[in-house]
């Protein structure tokens, strides 16, 4: 149905795509994988008319197409759901869905029709819980994503739906819901191009896999006939054997560095936990269970209102990030671009931000730190917005290492990070623990959480509901997180 052949694209002389070809069948789910910066998003933007290709052709249903604006691609039935949301938080669902093609009656926008049609589309997808008149900003992230999909479907008779990392902001159970939605769409004959860094999803969903590396197509595989290892090998160009570094030996776990007793705030209750030197503690939970609230409370960003906490032997219930930092706590936030980095500033300025902001904390030897996190950049003066996601995350980690913390909190540390960088981050986290830091990881990717943690705490409804030992089964975690019943998370990876 769709064929892209020999597509090339350069930015300012830098070649990003080298003659990439791709084809998609009706009703097929086709996965596109590759490292950060491999060119996946760029290829899709070419397809969706956002970029004009330097070379190459796009053929849809046998006719050659050249799009110079996204609207033309949409009209032809190609819809792209961006890696980043393109929704207006202060407008209603219906207004967002019909943005750019509002139905008009007698010169005026027909709100009724718009809302009715949106409700119909939502109903078709079984998403009846969303009010077309609700403000998008007040919806949960998962629902916002549904709105994005509905928006794409409303655009036209969609033939091809491109989804660029749709699961990145979702928690596991929501991923299941998205799966169902995607399958329904495919069953209707829509061809789906699916980009993800989570191989498990790729194997769950897709029929075929195309692997990009450095702007080249390096493999075209049939899912049923390949294995994750083969895909990874194609992506990184080498063998990545063990996904996770070895866990801590019992002897490596030392003193408690952070203890919390009976703490809480408006979103958390009865929190009690201990983080020990040398240990990686994982926190599992469903979306909205309070994991982010927990780490933000520990870090003083949304402080505990009551309770006791000691850090490295001293009593400290941080009321602001500054106090937490002085106490030796660091937080790698889940929203790296908005909360972790000053994007227009250089690598160096970002790495030194904490040290400069909080007098008396940390080191100024940036070079070693950047080597330590294995940053790949064009130099310390490069603005971080030009770095790939994985490298941006490394800068964030370097920033905290510069502050010489005792306790490191990670909220979704590998979200949107490719396999190569991911395993580098995993190795680094383990090394840091080994050097005597206490580490806490929040992750919505259960395999990662289980693979990394020496111990897993499970949260539900703003409180800790249980603790599981290293290597616990995913089912056990989900059971605790959802309160006994087996979670809606379908099909664990084989």
């Amino acid at each position: 149905m769709l064929t892209m052949s020999s597509v090339s694209k350069s930015f300012l002389g830098a070649r990003v795509l080298h003659g990439v070809s791709l084809d998609l069948k009706q009703g097929e789910i086709h996965a596109l994988v590759g490292e950060n910066g491999a060119g996946k998003s760029t290829l899709m933007k070419v397809l969706a008319g956002e970029y004009a290709p330097d070379e190459g052709t796009i053929t849809l249903d046998g006719t050659a197409r050249a799009f110079s604006h996204p609207v033309q691609a949409q009209a032809a039935g190609i819809a792209l759901i961006h890696q980043e949301f393109a929704l207006l938080p202060y407008r209603t669902v219906a207004e967002n869905v019909f943005l750019g093609r509002e139905p008009v009656r007698r010169g005026l926008v027909d709100r009724r029709a718009m809302e009715r049609r949106t409700a119909e589309l939502l109903a078709e997808l079984d998403e009846t819980g969303i009010d077309p008149r609700a403000q998008v900003g007040e919806l949960s992230v998962a629902r916002q994503q549904t709105v994005e999909i509905v928006k794409a479907l409303a655009a036209s008779d969609v033939r091809v739906l491109v989804m660029d990392e749709p699961t990145a902001p979702l928690a596991d159970h929501e991923v299941g819901l998205l799966y169902a939605l995607i399958r329904r769409l495919a069953a209707r004959g829509i061809g789906i191009l699916y980009i993800s860094h989570r191989l498990r999803e790729v194997f769950d969903l897709s029929q075929r896999i195309t692997v990009l590396k450095d702007g080249r197509k390096v493999a075209a595989l049939t899912t049923a006939e390949t294995s994750p290892d083969e895909v990874v090998r194609a992506m990184v160009g080498r063998e990545l054997h063990s996904y996770y570094p070895p866990r801590a030996e019992p002897g490596e776990i030392g003193e408690p560095l952070l203890t919390v007793t009976d703490a809480g705030n408006e979103r958390l209750a009865g929190i009690g936990l201990t983080l020990r030197a040398g240990e990686v503690t994982g926190v599992a939970g469903l979306q909205g269970s309070g994991r982010t609230s927990l780490v933000r409370a520990l870090f003083g960003a949304a402080p505990f209102t009551h309770g006791r906490m000691t850090v490295a032997g001293r009593s400290l219930l941080p009321g602001s990030p500054r106090q937490a930092i002085r106490g030796g706590i660091a937080l790698v936030t889940e929203d790296r671009k908005a909360e972790g980095l000053a994007l227009r500033q250089s690598v160096r300025d970002n790495a030194l931000l904490v040290t400069r902001a909080v007098a008396g904390v940390g080191t100024r030897g940036v070079g070693e730190l950047l080597d330590r996190v294995a940053l790949r950049s064009r130099g310390q003066d490069q603005e971080v917005r030009y770095l790939s996601g994985g490298n941006q995350q490394k800068v964030v980690i370097a920033k905290w290492l510069a502050a010489r913390p005792r306790v490191l909190l990670f909220d979704e540390p590998t979200r949107g990070v490719d396999v190569g960088a991911k395993s580098a981050i995993h190795t680094l986290v383990r090394e840091l623990a080994r050097e005597g830091l206490a580490v806490l990881i929040v992750s919505s990717e259960l395999p990662e959480l289980i693979g990394m943690s020496d111990r897993i705490l499970v949260m539900a409804d703003g409180t800790l509901v249980g603790e599981l030992p290293a290597g616990a089964a995913e089912e056990d975690v989900m059971r605790l997180a959802t309160g006994d019943t087996a979670g809606p998370y379908e099909e664990s990876a084989a």
Binding site: E84, R376, L387
Partner: protein, 337 residues
């Protein structure tokens, strides 16, 4: 892997020039045009006189830069200048023998207090600084004229005016070293930890706050410094030309224009203070040139408007890379989050 540590000094120097490059070109062109128009322009006296005239605007631009780069606006600086001049005269009306240093320092402190109010209202009450400082402009103008009943009662003595009017050693106008000192201080400040955190705050307030930056304090301090800079400009203006009830009229717009000419991003997070001050010099050079060229008196402002738009427009479109990024603001690569 260790590419990160290799940094070419030449590349670095060029980058530093980076965002400001168009303004330096503009300044060179204007200065060359001045030389052609008035061959005597580069005689020491005449050039120093030019710098002296530019000094208040340069100092205002340096202060304004601090506020803009941290993500705000300061529309109150013109009113601070007017209020400073009038209040100084009013004060001398009551205490004709007050030592000049005391009055100068008093004005600087008062300017800083105005900045403090701007900063606290903006950061604590979360009023956009455009509105805060617009309101402050009304308040200051209203209050100072209300207080003085429309015109100040005193005369500014020579001792006070010496700073803006007189020369050191008979040839160097005091305003020139003042300007140099402010410039050097601003450069030093921007290279200091404070300066870096200030820019980072303008870039991403949330990221800065989570990195332990006391965002309200940092931003407030930028307003305080801008207020003090405006007060210093007031002292220079008062010295240069004496009491006037409209000493600072329009200076806020001139200062902002200068900063934008210098390639500083309105909204914060990018731009150099040196370029901002170069923007002020360019603007003053433009005024001088228009005056010398004798463009039909009234059309002067038309020419000025066209040149400013053109300079900023060319600066923006002349850098394709930046421009595209500004339009798309998309992150070229990288993950989601």
């Amino acid at each position: 892997m260790s590419e990160a540590t290799t940094t070419n000094p030449a590349v670095r120097a060029f980058r530093r020039l980076g965002t400001g490059a168009p303004v330096y070109a503009l300044l060179v062109v204007l200065l060359a045009a001045l030389a052609l128009t008035d061959p005597g322009f580069y005689e020491p006296d005449s050039f120093l006189a030019f710098v002296k005239r530019a000094a208040p605007l340069v100092i205002l631009a340096a202060g304004q830069y601090l506020v803009i780069v941290s993500g705000g606006f300061d529309l109150s600086v013109g009113a601070v200048v007017t209020a400073g001049v009038v209040a100084g005269a009013e004060f001398y009306g009551s205490y004709p023998d007050a030592p000049w240093l005391l009055v100068t320092v008093g004005l600087l402190v008062a300017g800083a207090v105005v900045g403090l109010a701007n900063g606290l209202i903006t950061t604590r009450l979360r009023v956009p600084s455009f509105i805060t400082t617009l309101g402050m402009m009304l308040i200051l103008e209203g209050a100072v004229f209300y207080w003085t009943g429309g015109s100040p009662k005193g005369v500014l003595p020579q001792s006070f005016r010496e700073f803006g009017r007189g020369t050191a050693g008979g040839w160097l106008p005091w305003a020139v070293p003042a300007c140099v000192v402010v410039g050097a201080a601003a450069v030093w400040l921007m290279r200091s930890d404070f300066g870096r955190t200030l820019v980072a705050t303008g870039d991403s307030e949330r990221a800065a706050a989570l990195a332990g930056v006391r965002v309200p304090r940092v931003r407030t301090l930028a307003f305080v410094l801008s207020g003090a800079a405006a007060a210093l400009a007031a002292v220079l203006v008062a010295g240069f030309s004496g009491v006037s009830a409209q000493a600072g009229r329009g200076l806020e717009f001139e200062a902002i224009t200068a900063v934008v000419l210098g390639g500083v991003l309105l909204g914060g997070g990018r731009g150099s203070v040196v370029a901002a001050m170069a923007g002020a010099f360019s603007l003053q050079a433009l005024f001088t040139l228009l005056n010398l060229q004798g463009v039909s008196g009234a059309l002067e402002s038309t020419v000025q408007g066209v040149i400013v738009i053109a300079a900023v427009g060319l600066g923006a479109t002349g850098r394709p890379g930046l421009n595209r990024l500004r339009r798309h603001r998309s992150q070229p690569s990288g993950g989601t989050s």
